[in-house]
């Protein structure tokens, strides 16, 4: 049975995920998204994976949420507070959500993973570090290249050409 801490973190995660999508202001929405990401980090701690939890806090809550906040600040004031959505699609979207949750939930409840629990020791994070540097080293280098390339691509995309022409 789920304990109180698990229930609290799942209410925080799911509630702030709904708030992130439904709050009128984009600024509050992105702060609620931070709550979702932090709640997922809490789940990682409960799953005895502190390394992934630390990564989640550093990358998601630390950098991605701040990046989103800065982008929201670049947008016009009226657009931040305006709700842009299809009213016609709203009920269809809620129906789709319920169908997905109920169908997947029914399949999962019917499958064999209902009874799986474990008493074995958690994986040591030193093992993950060893995996990174031995078996997964080509993937690690590729990931570094992809990150560098995507940051350069983002900078090139967001560059303002008109200001450069003015300076010349």
């Amino acid at each position: 049975m789920a304990d109180a801490l698990f229930l609290a973190i799942s209410v925080l995660t799911i509630g702030s995920a709904i708030a992130a999508l439904e709050m009128r202001s984009l600024v509050y929405g992105s702060i609620a998204l931070m709550g979702t990401l932090g709640g997922v980090a809490g789940f990682y701690v409960m799953l005895d994976s502190p390394f992934v939890a630390m990564f989640q806090l550093a990358v998601y809550v630390g950098s991605i949420a701040v990046l989103i906040l800065f982008t929201v600040m670049l947008v016009k004031r009226e657009l931040i507070f305006k709700k842009i959505e299809d009213p016609k699609r709203k009920f269809a979207g809620i129906g789709l959500m319920l169908i997905v949750i109920l169908a997947l939930g029914a399949v999962i409840m019917d499958s064999g993973i209902k009874t799986i629990s474990t008493d074995s020791d958690p994986v040591d994070f030193r093992e993950i570090g060893g995996d990174f540097l031995t078996y997964y080293w080509p993937a690690l280098i590729l990931m570094a290249l992809i990150l560098a390339g995507s940051v350069m691509g983002a900078l090139v995309l967001a560059r303002r050409e008109d200001t450069i022409e003015n300076e010349q």
Partner: protein
């Protein structure tokens, strides 16, 4: 370990459903990016949960790679939104339909 695998998987399913709802209903480009983030987090939670109950280190490694790639995806996605905002002065994706420069 007091919690069972199914509880984490059900939370992950709920997050997936909320993300799909956001992608289907919202027309705000930044909010659609929120929905994508929620879906990616649901997938990562699944990976780590199954890795804990196997137990095997592969799931955590894959989750770390996934988090790093998601960071790159958000950087590029936000840059695209900024470019589109500069062009159309709006973040409604209905306005982005004609992708001409």
């Amino acid at each position: 370990m007091s919690n069972e695998l199914i509880e984490f998987v059900l939370v992950s399913v709920a997050l997936l459903g909320i993300g799909i709802y956001g992608l289907a209903v919202k027309r705000n480009a930044i909010r659609m990016l929120f929905a994508v983030e929620i879906i990616v987090n649901a997938a990562n939670l699944n990976l780590v949960a199954f890795a804990r109950f196997m137990p095997h280190s592969g799931g955590q490694t894959l989750a770390l790679f996934s988090i790093a790639i998601a960071a790159a995806e958000v950087a590029v996605g936000l840059a695209l939104i900024i470019v589109a905002y500069r062009m159309y002065k709006n973040i409604d994706i209905a306005d982005f339909r004609s992708l001409k420069g």
